[in-house]
Amino acid sequence: MIEKADVVIVGGGVNGCALAYELSLKGIKAVVVERKHLASGATGRCGAGIRQQWSSRENAALAIESVRIFERLEEELGSSIGLRQGGYLIAIHDEKDMEQAEKNVEMQRSLGLDVSILEADEINDIVPILDIEGMKAIGATFCPTDGHADPFKTTYAYANAAMRNGAEIYRFTEVQDIVTDGEEIKAVRTNRGTIKTGVVVNAAGAWSKKIAEMAGIELPNVPYKKEIIVTERMTRIFDAMVISFRDGIYFSQQDEGQILGGIPPPETVTGYKTEPTLSFLEHMSSTLTRYAPVLKHINVLRQWTGFYDVTPDALPILGEVKGLKGFIQCNGFSGHGFMLSPMVAKLLAQLIAGEKTSLPIGRLNLERFEKMDFEKEKSVVG
């Protein structure tokens, strides 16, 4: 195992791999240490939706910039990422929703996003199988450049490009301790040896809290068990991802025709429990078929779980921790860290290289929780 590196990234999900790539472009040698295989955490289990319609300016800006990168990523990395931009259709259920939607759309448009508010009878033009009465919609917002990418292909495309540029990726290698002198990062201890380094990036998803503890830092993140299903295939009928903040449901049709989607499980479960539940399966199926009754005859093929790494404001924690030089956070994505990864990686690479970040990320530091200076993101599903 390598003995020394400029940067050690803990976690081989989409964020860790994307960051290794962005660093490699700047000539900074990164080592990714992953406990299992790449994308074995939330990345390989996620809905992989890409949405720019957020209520907070921070999330919206990160997502918009990320979409710009996603759009040219295949060419840049030299392999397919399975991007499809079929839009996100967000249900509006009542006047209160409508008010919030209008506010969101105004802010999103100010950032240059093409997003509009649809009347109830326009919804079926986008997704023909929806039952407007069943889903209780009075309208919807729609952004045509939102979409979906393949989380495995994206992670591997980043990882392979990073390795071509000299990054090293250790799989089935577990980080067991982080060595500091109380002020600075010194080394990372793994089950296969110790790597000396001045910079550690904590991109360990739902396990980031544990990684931070190794460095003596407390994160407010909580792991939430989330469940998701995929159905058998059928003709391609719609391109958009359909979501509702009130019901918490999201679903879309994959390229091969399966419907993939999730909803918050009836019983909220925190901690590292991975068992799927029957109550989720029933809740998901009944809500999905309320939205799209024609799916009643379609079989569910698989059901699985993954973790959201949730922060108090549902926004990620990015940047260096005050008081521990070289300890960089890249976690707390709260259920939307796939879509943000291209821009997050770019920004953190700039930060590590000592450059000015192309978007301000100061507000996303860890200290905001201590100061109680944050506002909760409202547009969350799943």
Partner: protein
């Protein structure tokens, strides 16, 4: 292509019915499945693959491979190999379109039992009988409409121990087992749910929760069981070679089902891959059904099955080529022939040894893999044991796994035979009952007797693989304190 005269079997085709296939009227008999009736009418292409639009036909015949998905009465993705055909049914080969059928509504039922047995093959039925006799409540679930698992298609006389009914035909054993368990059903000791798939394990503790569904009647079951015995059998292995998905390439089990359960010939001329017992027996059964067998090829340097079965084939003029395998299967929309070739010691094809075999059917009898996914979902300790056929649940002598109250029996616990599957079923049924009612001198004696018989059965030269598999499993169980 229906078989009319058969030396052993009799097919009662009572009521003739008809159904529509892509708009054409097709004749069928009540009791046939959609796929078998289509086969009898010479229709072999049942569906097309989604990305490359390659034709797909009947492969497994037991609802496991999804190559027979069709649209039935407006419902897409129906597994036509396990769906009984009905008069006036509308069957279309276009799977993909949205459902147009009304949804009849669904029901939910909660069931609480002492012991749930998943799978009604020889292992599962034996377990249900053993437990049912002991005063605990038993639920027996199988996703096939018929009970008996693999046995219902085995027309040959069984090998193995005299005590465990060697010399009796598999179908006969299946009938006897079914009679016994139906008797217990009548007395309210065992409840039977055929046509119902157990689809998931949802948590344990003092009892176990499982989900099951009957697609025909749209009932979803929440099953709460104090003990669970998994006797899910095994799945046939595939081989990779160009053309392995052409209609006309079958698993040996699928061929047996077509011939022996529905009385339908898979084709006219067969190339058999694999000379283990299954390959040899099915080849002979093909001859009995009036189908030609061109040859049997076997990758290993020697025949794996019993010599009596091999001798029977040779007597009927079927050559067996050892150190040979299939290189490619060709044809437009269906099998027209295959290229077979010799293998060298490193398992590479010997150049120049290729031979073109003209056939319309290729039958794969290349082993089985234990069906143990529900067990793995339940979190049992597992390991890869090559002699057992793949990943299996580690279990102790009394068939209990590392998760308390979860048992395994039959092929699902390692590929073996029906005779040992029945005994393992009895042991699992007994040990699950004992764990509820307590152990006494008579149950202890019974357990010892079963275990002793099982060990005797594995003692012969042909039990060596199973013996090794079980030795490894038990050793690991004892190391793990199971």
């Amino acid at each position: 292509m229906r078989i009319d005269i058969h030396p052993i079997l009799q097919f009662d085709r009572e009521r003739e019915i008809s159904f529509l296939y892509n708009g054409n009227k097709i004749k069928a008999f009540e009791g046939e499945t959609i796929a078998s009736a289509l086969h009898a009418a010479g229709i072999k292409v049942l569906s097309h693959s989604i990305k490359l639009n390659r034709p797909r036909g009947f492969f497994c015949g037991i609802g496991k491979c999804s190559s027979c998905l069709m649209r039935v009465n407006g419902v897409p993705n129906v597994r036509t190999c396990i769906t009984p055909v009905e008069d006036g049914m509308v069957v279309e080969s276009d799977v993909q379109q949205l459902p147009s059928a009304e949804f009849p509504g669904s029901n939910k039922e909660d069931i609480s039992v002492d012991i749930l047995v998943v799978g009604a093959g020889p292992a599962g039925i034996s377990a249900a009988i053993e437990a049912g006799k002991r005063g605990v409540s038993v639920l027996l679930v199988d996703e096939n409409p018929m009970l008996g698992g693999q046995l219902i298609k085995q027309t040959h006389k069984f090998f193995g121990s005299r005590k465990e009914r060697a010399g009796t035909r598999g179908i006969k054993i299946a009938e006897e087992l079914e009679e016994q368990v139906r008797e217990l059903e009548k007395n309210g000791k065992v409840k039977i749910l055929p046509g119902t798939s157990v689809f998931g394990y949802y948590g344990g503790g003092s009892s176990h929760m499982l989900g099951a569904a009957n697609k025909m009647s749209n009932v979803m079951y929440h099953i709460n069981a104090k003990k669970v015995i998994f006797a899910c059998g095994a799945q046939e292995n595939m081989l990779s070679f160009p053309g392995n998905d052409l209609p006309g390439v079958y698993g040996a089990g699928g061929v047996q089902t077509l011939m022996n359960v529905y009385g339908i010939k898979p084709g006219k001329r067969v190339l058999m891959i694999g000379a283990g017992n299954v390959g040899l027996i099915v080849s002979y059964q093909l001859l009995q059904a009036g189908v030609e067998v061109d040859r049997v090829v076997e990758a290993m340097p020697r025949i794996g099955g019993y010599s009596v079965h091999a001798a029977k084939l040779r007597r009927n003029g079927v050559p067996i080529y050892t150190s040979h395998s299939v290189k490619e299967v060709y044809g437009k929309d269906r099998v027209e022939g295959a290229i077979v070739a010799k293998l060298d010691e490193n398992w590479n094809f010997v150049e120049g040894s290729e031979e073109d075999v003209k056939c319309d059917t290729v039958c794969l009898a290349v082993g089985l893999t234990p069906s143990a996914r529900l067990l793995f979902q339940a979190g049992v300790k597992r390991d890869y044991i090559p002699e057992a056929g793949g990943y299996v649940a580690i279990h102790n002598m009394e068939m209990e796994t590392s998760v308390k109250g979860i048992y395994v029996a039959g092929d699902s616990s390692g590929i073996e035979e029906a005779s040992t599957a029945m005994l393992e079923g009895k042991i699992a049924g007994l040990s699950a009952s004992i764990s509820l009612t307590g152990r006494d001198s008579s149950t202890t004696a019974k357990m010892e007797e079963y275990i002793k018989t099982l060990e005797e059965m594995r003692r012969g030269p042909f039990g060596s693989k199973a013996r090794e598999a079980k030795r490894k499993i038990l050793e690991e169980a004892s190391n793990e304190g199971i």
